[in-house]
């Protein structure tokens, strides 16, 4: 990170632009309304901060690696990894750690501070810590979903468009889950729990803890993790060396 200072600075500017865009959107929305699906401005910004925290951590550790996995298979780079005496899955999906993306965490930290400073109450530190701990479940879900898509490369040649689709879907978690109603809301809660990814950690950090939502998020994250392992297992058996 210190060697590639320019990269770090560009990441900082880039992340500030994106986070700034959506923080401005929230600001504009709250000039016309007092609450959004029962959430105040500060609370919505905290949800946004949790969303970006999940994105930042995935950007640092696994997102690029998983998204470029299909390319690694097509180019035959998997052969080189398969011969190493470590888990292929770990090696492939945590191949490169993007420390320059730490800039995003700094911006997200500022967003957290901004959101919390706009609350009409002071949340307890223990609740914020619990909310941050629950993001681990959200990260496991997000990681598993990306791995399932990446593993499809053993059956279909290119999965790039699926990655874009997942990124678009992840944007649904920027806002309070109560905003999504009807069948769409149920889909985002029980089928692909994007609606819970940032909302549940924010609820735990700021509001009364509803353990049933926590249980649903943890349960579905575990389920998605198991599915990702099964899909990976069957996928890797189909792999034929390129060299």
């Amino acid at each position: 990170m210190l060697i590639y200072r320019a990269n770090f600075l560009i990441s900082l500017v880039l992340m500030s632009m994106w986070v700034g865009a959506y923080a401005i959107l929230v600001e504009v929305i709250f000039t016309y309304t007092k609450t959004l699906a029962g959430w105040s401005k500060g609370e919505v910004i905290v949800i946004l901060a949790f969303y970006y925290l999940i994105q930042n951590i995935s950007d640092i550790f696994f997102k690029d690696n998983i998204e470029s996995f299909g390319q690694a298979v097509r180019r035959g780079e998997l052969d080189f990894r398969i011969t190493k005496p470590v888990s292929l899955r770990m090696l492939s999906f945590f191949w490169e750690i993007r420390f320059d993306q730490l800039a995003g965490v700094i911006v997200t930290g500022i967003l957290f501070w901004y959101g919390i400073s706009h609350l009409s109450y002071t949340p307890k530190m223990i609740h914020i810590a619990a909310g941050l701990a629950v993001t681990v479940a959200s990260l496991i879900f997000y990681y598993s979903l990306l791995v399932i898509i990446a593993s499809l490369t053993f059956w279909v040649e290119k999965t790039d468009t699926f990655n874009v689709l997942i990124f678009n879907m992840s944007q649904l978690s920027r806002y309070p889950r109560a905003m999504y109603t009807d069948i769409f809301g149920k889909f985002l809660t029980f089928v692909i729990p994007m609606g819970l990814m940032a909302s549940v950690p924010a609820e735990i950090a700021l509001k009364t803890v509803d353990y049933s939502w926590l249980a649903i998020l943890v349960g579905l994250s575990a389920l998605f993790y198991i599915i990702s392992r099964v899909v990976w297992y069957y996928g890797i058996q189909r792999y034929t060396s390129a060299n």
Binding site: V13, M17, Y22, V28, T33
Partner: protein
């Protein structure tokens, strides 16, 4: 002279056709991106529904119907305006693909412009059918009258040109800089905030609006949609068009100058 003009127009018509064929060939990617549009529209629907519910069905000067119509028009426009040209130029320069264009009897920028325009035209036609139908059926349509049509075309093409020229210049900065891809992403961030893509600019506080209305970004999305949603041709629309095209011509001239200087710096290998 006449023959040369005819040959040139035939050449560029063929380039337009190539771009069209390219769009048709990669239609699966495009149809997958339609799902992405659908997700963005779902977010807009639920978000602005929740906002308007707290405001007796209105948001500033917009009704829920008109703001949804606004975001559907953003989707149609983005299929026309959005361009990979910045990244394409970076690839051409960095990987040396640019060599082949120097050797061919075609002008590089008009070639890229037409290729990109025709590809986007295919996407826009499909986007118009999908989102135009939704606007007409669910959100009361948009006012259409004869005198508006030239303004609509001029403003949409003007918006496309501004975006194309800015992206081209960012792409051409790779003649001087090593890695310019992330600068292009920074531009996309600015475009998201200042062009009216995620929130109509006239919902911003007056001071902020006053500043951003002086930048070219608003003429890429917000202004063409203002024209599309207009019920009559007002003096603001006419002056807006003049400003938009002044930006478009100014930026094209800058892009052209940058290209000429950049080519002089370019070192082709294996020509």
């Amino acid at each position: 002279m006449k023959n040369s003009l005819l040959a040139n127009s035939k050449k560029y018509l063929r380039i337009f056709r190539l771009g069209w064929l390219d769009a048709v060939e990669y239609r699966t990617d495009f149809f997958m991106s339609v799902f992405g549009w659908g997700i963005r529209m779902a977010i807009a629907t639920f978000l602005w529904k929740a906002v308007s519910n707290g405001q007796n069905g209105s948001i500033g000067s917009y009704s829920y119907q008109s703001i949804m119509s606004y975001f559907l028009l953003v989707q149609i426009l983005s299929s026309f305006v959005f361009s990979q040209i910045g990244f394409t130029i970076v690839e051409d320069v960095n990987k040396g693909e640019f060599n082949q264009y120097l050797l061919k009897p075609i002008a590089y920028l008009p070639f890229r412009f037409l290729f990109d325009l025709s590809r986007n035209t295919f996407r826009t036609l499909i986007g118009t059918v999908i989102f135009g139908t939704i606007i007409a059926v669910f959100y009361g349509g948009i006012p259409i009258f004869a005198s508006k049509i030239p303004f609509v075309f001029a403003s949409v093409i003007g918006g496309y040109m501004i975006n194309f020229c800015i992206l081209s210049m960012l792409g051409m900065s790779s003649f001087w800089l090593e890695n310019t891809r992330r600068i292009i992403f920074i531009y996309f961030g600015m475009l998201t905030i200042f062009s009216g893509m995620i929130v109509p600019l006239n919902l911003f506080p007056p001071l902020f609006l006053n500043i951003i209305s002086r930048l070219p970004f608003g003429y890429i999305f917000f202004y063409p949609i203002q024209v599309l949603q207009a019920t009559s041709i007002t003096p603001e629309i006419i002056s807006g068009l003049m400003i938009q095209w002044a930006y478009a011509i100014g930026l094209y001239s800058l892009a052209y100058l940058m290209f000429r200087r950049g080519v002089r710096r370019f070192e082709g290998v294996g020509i």
